[in-house]
Assembly symmetry: C2
Homo-oligomer: 213 residues x 2
């Protein structure tokens, strides 16, 4: 709500009305790129509106009016990441799809640049409610992109009808994020493969069926 | 190493030589209690050495010399949490033990005070290497406390020989921490039950057997 009322004072319109090549879109792309680079190099707590404005070549007033705070910049970066989110795989089997998903999560959490962004947004979400909401929205989009894989598998009879598709998707990511952000242990290909295998095994056995009410 | 060399300048000795009722132990308990209360009320980034010293009734010099930084305080709080870690359950079945584990993790992540501490230490670990190492050590202790449950289950023939016990323990926690700190979704009893069921099902089916080399 706060974000929307801030944006509605912008004569160029809200993100929903942006033309991709328009000036507002270019300002946003530059500010979010500078935000991303700062997060990669120095983390969330080094993020500073004035330096983002300078690095992006955007007026300070614009940055303050549009994003309000460094947390607002991170939240909008998460919205951009969600907007650029790509569909899940369709390999023909649930095993193939879940392995593809695990491999992508592993890549995101081990690539030096991408993993630094994820560390920073997880830290930001732990410190700031707007970032927490945006992180929740980002994962809702990512989980939603992979739900059709599980639904197709149920339609093919690979897993029981009534399986909570989103739970199977979460089950692939969760062990990888647990090592990455919680237990802070190394992450390897073997971890990604085991995460996919465990989720697949439990799904086939009906462990993710909707609980009766 | 840095922490040890700092502590070795303390004539009262290192944590390994503390008498529980000694002055150094009392200073540590008071400083870590003040640290915990600040994390609960305001989070990691509000943590300030001077205010911890004042709240704990401990000299500023002592706090600076002993912990060095607010990250050092959080890291030592995590070491204290690991020291106070209790053994895993022994209900007689792997299902009972994993359900007990899931219930404890759920409680830790939903109790208002405890969940605030976990949010803060996860944020601290994402921002600071000393805190990340300490968080890793805390979970190594917690995972280790529950490994015997899985080893007993393998000895009873409930799960295949060669199961990586620590992986089964991680598998119970991971979906709960994923909702708590990553996807930022609500956490309920149903999530804890599903986490235990999925880990049990996958373990019985051999999904956590050691990979051949």
């Amino acid at each position: 709500m706060e974000q929307e009322s801030r944006l509605s004072t912008d004569p160029q319109g809200t993100p929903g009305t942006l033309r991709p090549g328009g000036r507002t879109a270019k300002v946003r792309a530059a500010a979010l790129e500078a935000t991303r680079e700062t997060l990669i190099a120095q983390g969330f707590h080094a993020l500073n509106m004035d330096r983002v404005a300078a690095a992006a070549g955007v007026g300070r007033t614009t940055v303050y009016r549009r994003w309000g705070s460094s947390a607002g910049l991170v939240a909008d970066l998460l919205r951009e990441m969600a907007e650029q989110s790509v569909p899940g795989a369709d390999t023909g089997t649930l095993e193939g799809d879940l392995r593809a998903n695990a491999a992508l999560v592993l890549e995101a959490l081990t690539d030096p640049r991408s993993s630094a962004v994820f560390q920073a947004v997880i830290a930001a979400a732990a410190c700031d409610a707007e970032c927490a909401t945006a992180l929740n929205g980002f994962y809702a989009t990512r989980i939603g992109a992979w739900v059709p894989c599980v639904e197709r598998a149920a339609a093919r009879g690979e897993i029981p009808a009534g399986t909570e598709a989103a739970e199977v998707v979460r089950a692939v990511s969760a062990p990888l994020y647990y090592r990455f952000a919680i237990s802070r242990e190394p992450l390897t290909t073997a971890d990604a493969e085991r995460a996919a295998t465990a989720a697949l095994t439990a799904a086939r056995a009906g462990a993710y069926r909707r609980a009766p009410h």
